[in-house]
């Protein structure tokens, strides 16, 4: 093999670096684990992610558990001496829960027996987020195409009816046609606004508001549509939820989109005669704002990959643009919040959004932009919403 001729940082050539240093330079967390599942040696990346936890059980270090994990790639390596892979959610020192790709391989002693295992854990959290976003985008496009076709039909129809009304000198028909045109132009506007969220052109504008007031307003505006469909609608907002620096327009859009999805799930559910949607808010033990939107609609089919953030068949409805859940995802990301969904095919769904109530941003634009950032390292300028 040709030797590299580019010196490394301290002037020595790469192949002269001691193995120990290479071990520490690897950007994945490496640990040597004995057959008692205790950590015997770690590299520098491991220490940064989990601390110097040599001597402790791996399941305690990675997962905070008292007992071994049921599905453990290291256990499989000890059993068969083979290399095994997995994806795990682990607790890190400073980054909270992170998704890691794990590979375990055997360390074989002189007698050919597996005496320990080497575990390499690589943080893939950002890749998982990007993959989820791409998958959401793909699904959104299908719903989007359907929505656009309905809008085009409405616009084509409106123009046709207006022209026909002129030919017939029929003012009543003219009004109907014009209303069709206006209605569908409004729908184009909605699509445009949601695309702005998804393309990240819109910068979140933080204000010191009560998230409950935003949720209440969004629910109030949506209530007539729910009533029109004969669906029961309850809103329970915990009065102890305080104020915080959030993006009220983003939150309003988030709530509206979750309600649209819930209503569509109810409209397209053939299994029940009576449907309901329930909105609830509380503050969790960490002071974060927790919003739940639940429905007893058709739920999410079991064949859908539930590792995705969510998949509501937006192609079944005409109310949503297809970008709804993508908008929700972006708003949650912009607030550095979390979202989860619990759903059962035929029974219904519960979407839970958790948003930190941001402390008052620093007066400097930089700090405010950091608080409003979407986690990808960009620092957008703070501005009034262009919408």
């Amino acid at each position: 093999m040709d030797q590299p001729d580019t010196p490394d940082v301290d002037g020595t050539l790469a192949w002269e670096v001691p193995c120990d240093r290479l071990f520490d330079l690897v950007p994945s967390a490496i640990s040597v684990i004995d057959r008692g599942f205790r950590i015997r040696r770690v590299n520098e990346t491991f220490r940064r992610m989990f601390g110097d936890r040599v001597g402790e059980p791996c399941y305690a270090v990675f997962k905070g558990r008292h007992l071994r994990c049921q599905s453990c790639p290291m256990a499989r390596t000890f059993d068969d001496g083979g290399i095994h892979h997995g994806e795990e959610l682990v607790d890190t020192l400073n980054g909270g829960a992170r998704k890691v790709a794990v590979q375990t391989s055997p360390i074989v002693g002189a007698g050919g027996r597996v005496i320990a295992g080497l575990e390499v854990a690589t943080d893939i959290s950002r890749s998982v987020e990007q993959w989820q976003e791409l998958a959401l985008l793909g699904r959104a496009m299908a719903g989007l195409a359907h929505y656009i076709k309905n809008v085009l039909t409405g616009l084509d129809g409106g123009v046709f009816v207006v022209e026909e009304a002129f030919a017939r000198h029929d003012d009543t028909l003219l009004r109907r046609g014009w209303d069709m045109v206006r209605r569908n132009i409004d729908r184009v506007g909605r699509l445009s606004r949601e695309q702005l969220y998804c393309s990240r052109e819109r910068v979140p504008v933080l204000e010191d508001v009560s998230p409950n007031s935003v949720v209440c307003e969004a629910a109030r505006l949506f209530a007539p549509k729910v009533a029109q469909e004969g669906v029961a609608f309850t809103v329970e907002l915990d009065p102890r939820v305080g104020h915080g620096w959030i993006d009220p327009e983003g939150l309003h859009n988030l709530v509206t989109n979750l309600l649209v999805n819930a209503l569509e799930a109810c409209r397209f559910d053939t299994g029940k005669d009576h449907h309901w949607i329930a909105v609830k808010s509380v503050t969790d033990s960490g002071g974060r704002f927790v919003l739940e939107v639940a429905d007893n609609g058709h739920g999410i089919p079991s064949e859908v990959n539930c590792r995705l953030f969510a998949d509501v068949l937006s192609t079944r409805g005409t109310a949503g643009t297809g970008l709804g859940l993508l908008v929700v995802y972006h708003v949650v990301s912009a607030h550095r919040g979390e979202i989860s969904v619990l759903s059962e095919d035929g029974l219904g769904s519960v979407f839970t959004v958790t948003l930190p109530l941001q402390p008052r941003p620093d007066a400097s634009a930089g700090a405010a932009a950091e608080a409003a950032g979407d986690g990808d390292g960009t620092r957008p300028e703070r501005s009034v919403s262009p919408l």
Partner: protein
């Protein structure tokens, strides 16, 4: 004699559009906004042609189609499915198993001249 066309779509704008278009070409148009109303109107008016939006709430578009095909008085009426889905043949393949297929699928937004030509052909009406 004017042919009667029944337009069943939960979008009022689509009902208005198709009704205006078809009436201009001499058809008598009846409209309905959901599956239940659609079936009632179909049995009452015994139309010469039905335009049916397949994506209506609670699967009523598909359920209505099956019901129409099984109803002796209207089972033979030509049905044109309206859909916003490009992949409709794949999407609906399972729904149309073991029953006569629709006479045509029209993808939204429809081209007016093609819609009228289809309506004339299926109702045996000359231009």
């Amino acid at each position: 004699m004017a042919r009667t066309v029944l337009v069943i779509d939960d979008e009022p704008d689509v009902q208005t559009y198709l009704a205006t278009l078809l009436e201009k070409e001499g058809f008598t148009v009846v409209t309905a906004g959901d599956g239940e109303e659609g079936f009632t109107r179909a049995v009452e008016s015994k139309p010469d042609l039905i335009f049916l939006d397949i994506m209506m709430p609670k699967k009523t578009g598909i359920m209505l189609y099956r019901r129409i095909r099984k109803e002796p008085t209207i089972g033979a009426v030509p049905v044109v499915i309206l859909t916003g889905l490009s992949q409709y043949r794949t999407f609906f393949a399972q729904d149309f198993e073991q029953i006569p297929h629709p006479e045509a699928f029209v993808e939204k937004p429809p081209k007016p001249e093609e819609l009228i030509a289809l309506a004339r052909r299926l109702t045996h009406q000359s231009a």
